[in-house]
């Protein structure tokens, strides 16, 4: 049973509390942590709610054009953000596909990333968007490319005592991007997902979700596809490269074998839709 709930108003306060009470867990939206607690899977001695910290909220555009998403931004807000357009639309689409409306009113991007559920929606979209994370701890703040954030199943590069404060996305470009999710039913975790963003040089960035501890990305195979996005054989080669990186689980949402079969098909289908959208 958690004996206390601290509700700091600033990041500094939150970090001080954590330093004094290392056994406490940070609480973001609660959509996952409280569910786990209710199920008896975690039993923290205390909780530090991040909800009251102003600095962690809001989606803003920085002077250099990059979009900053505060870690406590709710999925509903991300899904409705007019800033996430064009090359960043895939992040908005991913947010809108998480769970259901009441859960989207509660869950946060920071909480979702810190939990790093392999079946979650943001990781693949943010990897394809080449997001950068800002982590703040007792020793100061640091920036980390999202590609370096997911270390293993439910394990991230967040150090003990650190808070994920913000997610930064590159300046939005007027190019098509999308996030496609295959799930058994609406609101479920993905069986497999595909995030695609077209790039200026007739290329693309692709990340596959729910097929390993972290999203799958094959930048060298992506480079080979430049100028050949309409070539099925070239697309199939990228699909094969992604399958080679995959390490899917067998679970109720699908067998590992099924997920491997999905990857190349999901890629071809999502890319096809995106190219039609770009042409229109």
């Amino acid at each position: 049973m958690a004996a206390y709930l601290e509700r700091p108003k600033t990041l500094t306060e939150a970090l001080e509390i954590k330093a004094a009470r290392p056994e406490a867990l940070f609480l973001a939206g609660g959509a996952t942590l409280i569910a786990m607690k209710n199920a008896g899977l975690v039993d923290p001695e205390g909780l530090i709610a991040l909800e009251g910290i102003e600095d962690l909220r809001g989606i803003t555009q920085e002077p250099d054009g990059r979009i900053r998403i505060g870690a406590m931004t709710r999925h509903r807000e991300t899904a409705a953000s007019p800033q996430l357009t064009g090359s960043l639309a895939l992040v908005r689409e991913a947010a809108g596909k998480i769970a259901n409306p009441p859960v989207r009113n509660m869950g946060t991007m920071g909480g979702a990333l810190a939990n790093a559920d392999p079946g979650a929606d943001y990781p693949a979209a943010l990897v394809a968007a080449e997001a950068e994370l800002e982590l703040i701890g007792p020793d100061g703040s640091r920036r980390l490319p999202i590609a370096d954030f997911f270390l293993d199943w439910y394990e991230t590069a967040l150090a003990e005592g650190e808070i994920l404060a913000a997610i930064r996305l590159p300046k939005p470009e007027a190019r098509a991007s999308t996030y496609r999710k295959l799930a058994r039913v609406s609101g479920d975790y993905a069986t497999a997902s595909c995030a695609v963003a077209l790039t200026a040089d007739q290329g693309l960035r692709v990340a596959i979700g729910a097929c390993g501890p972290a999203p799958l990305r094959a930048p060298e195979a992506e480079a080979d596809l430049r100028g050949k996005l309409h070539d099925p054989a070239a697309v199939a080669a990228l699909g094969a490269a992604l399958v080679a990186l995959a390490d899917p689980v067998d679970d109720v949402r699908g067998s590992a074998a099924y997920r491997l079969r999905l990857i190349p098909r999901l890629l071809a289908s999502t890319l096809g839709t995106l190219l039609e959208r770009e042409a229109a």
Partner: protein
């Protein structure tokens, strides 16, 4: 055994206080501390939606909300929406339209539907289904619920 603390909420327009553990959920506080049994304990995992209440004007899961975190928030359940014309229209159409069988999902459905009609009084059935996708019903097969929501919206337009 953790000490119980007094938790005060702005619940349905009144300040109400109950004793609860510091990590009690809002659902526990409402049902057991304050006798407000509108929201139900279904899965206690945030999946079924039977516990859905309005917090600061947005439908949220009471089973995933800590009561102690609601001290400065506005919580609304069906009890507090009894005089609300939108809710009255919804309740009427649910009851008359066969959208209630066992009733377990109903309070959560009504909260989610209330939010939808506030944003869009004439939603398409796809829009209704999307808005209620976080509320599971094992009895009705959903069709009557969707129709009742649309009828309630129409009823308001008159």
């Amino acid at each position: 055994m953790s000490a119980l603390t007094a938790i005060t909420l702005d619940l349905d327009g009144r300040r109400q206080t109950a004793l609860a553990a510091p990590d009690a959920t809002l659902l526990t506080l409402l049902r057991e501390g304050l006798g407000n049994t509108g929201p139900k304990r279904g899965c206690n995992q945030g999946v079924c939606g039977a516990c859905t209440v309005m917090i600061d004007g947005w439908p949220q899961r009471a089973c995933l909300t800590l009561a102690a975190a609601c001290a400065d928030k506005r919580v609304e359940t069906l009890e507090g929406l009894a005089e609300d014309p939108v809710m009255a229209s919804l309740a009427k159409h649910f009851a008359e339209g066969g959208a209630v069988q066992c009733g377990f999902c109903t309070t959560g459905m009504l909260i989610s539907a209330r939010k939808l009609l506030e944003e869009d009084p004439k939603p398409s059935s796809e829009r209704v289904r999307a808005a209620l996708s976080g509320n599971l019903c094992r009895c009705t097969g959903y069709r009557k619920i969707v129709e009742a929501v649309q009828a309630a919206g129409q009823g308001l337009a008159q």
